[in-house]
Symmetry: D2
């Protein structure tokens, strides 16, 4: 902040700006477009979400892939995030924002993070391949083998591979590849991920499926998004699932009964105090 004696020059406040949106008494603007006349009725919510984050609208092919990513991450049933949201709603039904926030807060390293982890891993591996060689499968195959070797040597798991439930095939993965081929967006990240899976199998003798989160991360990377946004979009997708869960919880609540059962069972397991 400027000293009291210094007049506030226009430079001091210059940093306080945003290209996301603004409102005046007569208009609301998002990413430079008039909300009422250029967005409402003309642009889907998914396209606007893409525009807000990327600063450009998606092509039709890109919108197909982006929608596929979002629907693939929207909901997987009574996950820890859905349960946390429902239990929070049990205690504070008047504040739905709290229940949704609680649900999103479980979107960390274990459940929603893998999309970001895979995107970041692919991003780092691809960085070694010049742009004009990324269409060359042999270049991708080579960096994939190197990267897998390093990760395994360090005793770590390969991001994007393996799933605790879908042990053979994650049903979302082949669908992502099929769609990407259909719309002509089978980009270097998706292609690299397949070489990564092959290199992993070759190195360990055991095949692990490409998981849906990993494939989704690769699609987002091929759409040009930085790795951190993979988690952002996973959270957007999950919000739709959480709204669905809370709509159901309001009609057919399970939170209170779950609490009562857990509490009663834990009470049976309380060890008597040693005197």
């Amino acid at each position: 902040m400027s000293e009291p004696s210094e007049p506030r020059s226009s430079e001091t406040g210059d940093w306080l700006r945003s290209s996301i949106g603004h409102a005046t008494p007569d208009s609301i603007t998002v990413r430079g477009r008039d909300l009422a006349s250029e967005v409402m009725g003309r642009m889907s919510f998914t396209d606007l979400a893409f525009l807000l984050a990327a600063g450009r609208t998606p092509s039709e092919a890109e919108a197909t892939m982006f929608n596929a990513v979002l629907v693939s991450l929207a909901d997987h049933g009574l996950t820890p995030t859905a349960l946390a949201a429902r239990l929070t709603y049990t205690g504070a039904p008047e504040a739905m924002q709290g229940a949704i926030a609680a649900g999103l807060l479980g979107g960390g390293s274990v459940f929603l993070g893998p999309a970001e982890d895979a995107a970041r891993f692919l991003h780092d591996v691809l960085a070694a391949v010049p742009d004009d060689r990324r269409s060359d499968d042999s270049a991708l195959e080579a960096v994939a083998a190197d990267a897998v070797e390093k990760v395994l040597a360090a005793g770590n798991r390969i991001p994007g591979l393996g799933h605790p439930v879908h042990r053979e095939t994650d049903p979302r993965t082949p669908r992502f590849y099929e769609l990407a081929r259909e719309v002509g967006l089978l980009g270097p990240n998706l292609r690299l991920l397949r070489f990564v899976a092959a290199a992993q199998q070759k190195a360990t003798g055991r095949a692990l499926p490409i998981n849906g989160a990993g494939a989704a991360g690769a699609v987002l990377a091929d759409l040009g998004f930085p790795p951190t946004l993979a988690r952002g979009f996973a959270l957007l997708a999950r919000t739709a699932g959480l709204v669905g869960h809370l709509a159901e919880e309001a009609e057919h609540p399970i939170g209170m009964r779950l609490y009562k059962e857990v509490n009663a069972r834990a009470l049976e397991n309380v060890e008597p105090e040693t005197p």
Copy 2:
């Protein structure tokens, strides 16, 4: 969980169910549809959000209105929610879920609640009009006048009317009515809201614009959603805006500078301790 050999009586686990989604080793299902083959590449994210909450897919006309609602609520610039999200990101950039959650938590009675308040008000007023009389404008006009009188007599404000910035016209409102007419979904809630605004003007002598949140709430009510979901969808919409703000914050941060300026200005205002 009981052993497989024990038959589970319907009393024990019966209540623990959800129609939102579930996963098996081979498949993921959302609202009874196979995610990979029936949703990915075939249904937009917005349609899925509608399906998850309503249990049915929207018609094309309904999807137009639903998308218009979501884009209308997605972002309004550097609002308190966007600022809270950015300041949270400043402190915990490694946990984007926390920044988005913090942003959503300001979606309460002041900023995102009005869509729900309007939907609830219209819902309660409409309850007095039998279904087969809701196409009758004079019936809507009569209940609107009664309801406005009661709210004003109690010294309260009419939900859905007035806006601190858009004092003459909220640019979103005429667009909602235009779109609803175009697609043939100008339902009883939207129509009632106009009679409410007219009754308010007649009773007070002062015109207040129908605000965008109120119109959005009316659209959602006309789509058949219960009032609580108006807040849920406002939160979903806002999540897209928050992802955009955090994408920008990661590139061009303002949170730390905002904190430093606030802190320095507050320091100047600290009163000296009286000895």
Copy 3:
């Protein structure tokens, strides 16, 4: 905001102030006290929490009651808030702030709100009794009877009475009254609450115990805190419980197993799709 041409006068930034605390390169100050020399080693954390909210330090008697309130609300086992925190930790163990936040978000109208509700109810009822008559039991008895009659006539429950588990006596309540007598702080709110319980029993013929949250709210009101802070302190107390739960969850996790059991049981209950 000032126009660019106007120099920023000290008046414009004047509103940006706080008495809670501030830091300079040499010192940190909280509520006007030097943190290093006047607070650390000299004041307990509980006393500081009182000071931060009230702007004054508690007497010894007040500290006894304030500590009793906080310990009474800190933990009640595997409640929905503890479960939400643990399930959030399951998904994002690297971000403990998210797990604690998720736990607090269930502190709404159902579980932690009752302390605030009781404090507000007592506050409103006491407002009808002039300060110099609050030591008069008959004045309290009269307003209690009136207030109970009104609440019951409106078909509502009396804040501070009844408990789903402690149906006869909430063990915390007699202890609060005993402590308050011992330290000489049996104030008008605690005394009024007893008349409220008696009036309720007389009016309905059925005794309901004063619940611990209600008694805690009355103690906080007698300490001079406004009703909203009753929820604030309940949340502070609960944070200590949540840290305990997460310390245990890190050592002996139950979140993942709970999820797996719930998921498996819900899967058994999925209804086959009708073709």
Copy 4:
């Protein structure tokens, strides 16, 4: 939950247990103690927080240090976390739990994480020193020099050293050492941290102060807490500060004015659309 007549095999429900607390119709128990008779009026809230996390009560000396840690982390004025909490309260004043949660969510790697980072670093360095050699200063000095060399060689900063505001001395640090000496708890973590600072100065030629968060982390480690709990207790401490900020915000709001100023300034900085 299984019917009472079915014996519950240890396999089914055995894992669902907690030592933190439980309630029956007649009693509430925390960490094996009766809440009403053994905790209320007999144990301070700080001691209970220690007990809940550690499973044992602190000695008087330990309580002195534990209180000093908590008060040192409770508040530092209008930080990003305080601002996020206040801006959230602006939008949802009816849900104080959301405002506190939003404030805590900024307690990540930048602002509250350093206490945990320092505790973890010291823990890892100390692991190389057998228990019976930890009283030997020369052993600590040797591992400190090694560890500092490794961290600096990797181009990283030393956890616990340096502060953006307190560039010469963090006023909390000498006070922690003074108190620890006074009560006889100058343990290996606090002593090691001083050797770390000295080694850093020797290696770089530039002295960096031990920051208060680092010293707090060392105190908690000397009290026997695992590193993750350093963040947990920092969050507990901060909750007290946030309750204070929200009590002030309710009386003298700054959130709405801050938003309006930011919004107006950002509006001036909107670049005109290029046609």
